[in-house]
Subunit: 93 residues, 14 copies
């Protein structure tokens, strides 16, 4: 069962790190975008419609990179082909 | 029981690190967003409705990345498929 | 008793690090938010009601990430499922 | 089965790290681009058509580097030639 | 006595590090808040009541994260469940 | 099969890291170029033709360094001379 | 005497590091607060009473985090429960 | 075949790292140059001919350092004298 | 004499590091405070009495953190309870 | 053949790193010089002859440090005295 | 003579590091203080007496932290109690 | 031949690193000097003779530190006394 | 001769590092002081006597920290008490 | 010959690192000083004599720290007392 343990541990470690570190970038970027949106709103309240729309499109785009990381983590925990292969082989043995 | 211990340790370590480091990004980003909101409020008190609304939408978006990290930690502690498989195998042995 | 020791050590180490490092982000962010609130108050004393309210909502939101970390630490020290499993197994042996 | 385990672990680790770290750069860059777009909109609301168009072309270009990373991760998880070779050899043995 | 030593060492190391590093964030944040309060007082001496009140609320909030770290350190030194379990087991042996 | 495994692992690891880290630089640089283009557009809407043209030439030049990294990764995964030599030797044995 | 040595070494190392690193944060923060106080005094000499009072309250608050670190160091050197337990056990042996 | 494997691995690793890290510098530098060119164009649209010419000469010069790195990578993968020597010796054996 | 050597080495290493690193923070902070005092003196020569007094109180406060580190170093070199215990035990043997 | 392998590996590794890292400095520096040249051209179009001449002399000087690194890499790959000595000795054996 | 060697090596290493790193902080701080003094002198030549006096008091205070480090180094090289104890024991043997 | 190999490897590694890292500082410094020269030329075209002369003297001085590093590398590759001693000893054996 | 070798190696390594790293701080600080002096001279040419005098006193003070490092290096190479003790013991044996 | 090899390797490594890293500080500092001198010349062409003189004195002072590092490297390569002692002992054996 040794090699299965190693695969399990690697999947756990990487699933955590990918989400943990991969969310820092988007979080910073969203903080920056929101902050600038607020500054822009204070400067030009009349353009609030355009600003809000551009902000939401941008946030969606940035959030997408956070979701890539979350997706990779979920694949590694719940749909890991290497783990499935190992279980299949352990079962067939 | 050795391989179970390794999986348990890896889960504990990564659950902690994912939350510990993964919360730094959102915390910084929220601090930045709140700070800019306050500056914007001081500059343009009349637009406080729009500013507050945009701030809360932004905070919710940023908080979502912190929650991804917390969710991964909780999955690793309470719904870990690798741990469940190991228990099942240990029970069936 | 070896594998129990390892789980205990990992829990101690991660409980400390998660709180120790996980509190840096919120602390910085709160410091930044408070600092900007004070600047805003000095700039626009009339808007002190709105500024104070927004500040407290923001601080609560930021504090929530610090609390996620503290919760994970407390779970690891006092409600650790891996440790409970190990004790149960050691008792049943 | 030892060498297959090593290849599996390396693929898991690198798939996670490539996406986790590779998304930080694009996230920051998109945050910066969106932030500047909002500032520009606040400064020059009349040029909003040109600004929005340039922003979206730029975001697409930046997103492409995030997608290179995601593609490499997916290749390593689901279309890894080294893993396929190892399976083929294990099956033919 | 080996596993007790390891638990003791881990508790000592982490108790120190948690306080040592965990106090850097709050210290910086408090320094920043105090610094801005002083700037604000110099700019707007008339609002000194509001500024001082907001400053003290903010300092209390920031200090709370330092106290989380100190609490974890004290729990690890004086109310460590893993250490108590180990002593109990060593006594009962 | 040991030395083949090592070559495979090294290729996987380096293919991921080269793309993962090598994309950070171009992403930042493109973010910066796009951000400045937007600022320039807001400052001088009349020169939008020249600005957009220069921007696209520059983005292409920066993207070229990201593509060098992606090319090296693809060579290492799909056209690796060291791996081919190893397969040839393993087949001829 | 081996396990006692390890506990002694860990206590020495952590006592030093906790004070050594834990004093950097407060030192920086106090430097910043004092620096701003001086700037504020130069800007608004009339408010020197309020500024000085706020400065001293703030310095006391910041100093408290340095004192937490010093207290933990002193506890580890002179009132270490793990060391006392080890001595007691060595004496009773 | 052991020493050949080591040479192959070293060549793979270094070829990737040289391109991966060596492209960060030029990418940043080109981003900076393009960004300043755009600012300059917005400031002085009349000098666009001189600016564009200087920009392209500069980009070529910066690109040259990226190409040094790419050349070293290609030499290590496809024209490596140490690898050729090893193959020659392995063939002549 | 082995365990005594380890305690001696740990004491030497930590005594040096605590002072070496622990003095960086206060040095920076004092440099900053002095620098601001000089700027303040140049701006407001009339308030030199208040500025100088506040500066010296602040320097004393900052110096106190450097002295905590120096005290810990001196305790570790000349009044180390762990070393004394080891000598006593070695003598009594 | 062992010691030859080590020399070959060291030469490969260092040849790559020297070029890879050694090109970052010159690339940044050239980016900075070109960027300032463009700013200067926009500020003072009349002095474009002097600016361009000084820029090219400066770029040549900076490029020289990149070329030192490239020269060392090429010496290590194609004219390595340690490798030649090793081949000579291996041939004469 | 083994344990004496270890103590000697630790003393040498730490004596060097303590001075080497411990002098960076004071050097930076003094550079900063001198730089500000020069700026202040250029701004307010009439206050040169006060500025110079405050500068020298400040430099003396900063130099004191460098001297703490130098003192610890000298103690470790020429008045090391652990080394003296080891020599005494070696002589008495 | 073992100890010769170690000396050869150390010489190769250090020759590369000394040039690779040692050229970063001068490259940055020259980039900075050239950049400021260009700014100065744009500000004061009349003083171009003095500026250019001072620039070239400064570049020569900075280049000298890069040349120290290159000289050390060349000494280590082509005039290494430790290597010569080793060859002499190997020949005389 | 083994323990002598270790002492010699430690002395060589630390002598180099202490000077190599310990000179960075003073170099930066002197560069900063000289740079500010030049700015001050350009701002206030009449005060050149006071500025130059203060600069030279300051440079001497900063240089003193570089000299502490150089002195420690020279002590470790030419007047090392640990090395002398080792030679004396080796001679007397 | 083993211990001689270790001393030789340590000398080579440290000689390279001391020069390689020790030249970064002076290079940066000289770049900064030259850059400020050029700015000062552009601001105040009349004071060029004083500025140039102060610059050259300052460059000489900064260069002195680079020369300390170069001197230590040369001592370690060509006048190393530890190496001479080792040769003498090897010859006398």
């Amino acid at each position: 069962m040794d090699s299965m343990t190693i695969i399990a541990v690697a999947s756990i470690v990487i699933a955590g790190l990918t989400t943990g570190f991969g969310c820092m970038g988007p979080a910073f970027a969203e903080g920056r975008a929101v902050a600038t949106a607020l500054t822009a709103l204070a400067q030009q309240p009349d353009a609030s419609a355009t600003i809000t729309r551009t902000l939401f499109v941008g946030l969606a785009m940035i959030e997408s990179t956070a979701i890539y990381c979350f997706v990779v983590s979920m694949i590694l925990i719940f749909a890991n082909p290497f783990w499935n292969f190992a279980i299949a082989q352990a079962a067939g043995k």
